[in-house]
Amino acid sequence: MNAIDALDNQIIRFHAVTKHFGETYALRDLTFEVRKNDFLFITGPSGAGKSTLIKLLYMGERMSDGYAIIDGMNLSRIGRRQIPQLRRKIGVIFQDFKLIANRTVFQNVALVMEVAGFKSRSVIRQRVADLLELVGLPHQADAYPPTLSGGEKQRAAVARAMVGKPRIILADEPTASLDPDASERVLQLLRAAHARGATVLITTHDTRLLSRFDARVIYLESGRRVDAPAAAGNVND
């Protein structure tokens, strides 16, 4: 593969990215690339900068220095009006689910399609039903998030992240608040999304999770990228 093909194949490129909040540095000089349809873990102890990295990727925060390119969009130059365009290319899953409490599971998932501009109610209904079927929640379509278990909430969040057929799925500690069975189910779903062609980037501090996947891992410590062995022993806090 020549250099141009390699660049073409990159969907995320971070170069010397720094993020600080006043005097506190969350990320320092971070450089890495992610290829299309990669399945990647970002790991490190609490405070390593994993969640900040996810926020930078979906433009929940702006970087302080360096540059990042996501699917051809340069985040350091992106205008305010282009942020929604970027976010529609990305599905995000959070540790705390971030489901809208007064909308049903169906409405939470369908909202992504409404935001993306789908007009046909029948198309939305069909696609959401398919996704709820995939994540095993067809019977909870009319349920409200507060009535669901943690695992069900996270599966609903996965369905929401997948329904817009995004090119990238970001999962910020998706299994941190789940029991082992629920965690396994969520990971299976993320693998299914990967199998469907999405690039999946998962942050976790759980080293047991890493050992079960043959996936690329980026280690972070105090906002810096570090080599695997030095960090691996410290990731469980």
Partner: protein, 294 residues
Amino acid sequence: MSMIDVCRRALSDFYRHRYLHGVCLFTIALSVFIISAFSLFFINAGELMGAWQQGIRITAYLKPDVTKKQATDLAADIEQYAGVASVSYVSGKEGFAWLKKQLGAGSSLLSDLKENPLPDALEIHPAKNMAAMAGADRLAGKISEKPEVADVEYAREWMQRFYGIYNLFKVTAFVMAGLVFVAILFIVANTIRLILYSRREEIEITRIIGADEAFIKHPLYLEALMLGSFGGIAGLAMLYGAFFSLMPKLSPEGLLPFFQVRFLPVQLVLAVLISSMFVGWLGCYFSIRRFLRV
């Protein structure tokens, strides 16, 4: 996003957050009720004072040798003066008949008079404005300088007091209206802010999944306009109900037998409704800016 989508989302959000919207709607309704009640009071009080103003006049008594022709010429001349609404000629005979009528049973006192003591006169009605009062003295002086005029008489102190009160009343009405408007805007903006605050997580999530500002803002503005219009209608309905339950006690046989109390004119009702929608929109505009900053 089409207008139909915006309306559909606004209506469903309105229902979804019905409790807070209900509180906001009640706040707007109460505000509209208060400001409309003020307007109703000031409009009717203004008309009542206008009715009293009809009684204010300057009387110019003419010299005995002035003919009717001279008197009507003088009336036409005075009518051209600034601050004069109308001038009417009252002959001594008409004046005497009026006096007798006013005295009623006591008119027998006048029967001993051998001749009519009242001279011919001109009744000058000043224009209905404040400038007329300031110029009343000057006007009376100017009229008294006319060779046909023997004497000028008017209720100077009463007029001064009347116009003083009228002036104060008008200024108070404007200041009150301004203060109430600002207070209402503040209350409505804060109530809408409360709604947005309760929905901040929902708004934040909607943004994370890729909603642009229009997707978030348009239904919110529409909801604010709906709140403003429904609140306006409810407030005016409350006032209408209160007005018609109190009406029989006020007029025409009640407390103010000589004056017909009226409800707000249609133009003002429409203006209140549009203002109430505008206040809803403006409250939303001020509140929303904070929530959509990146």
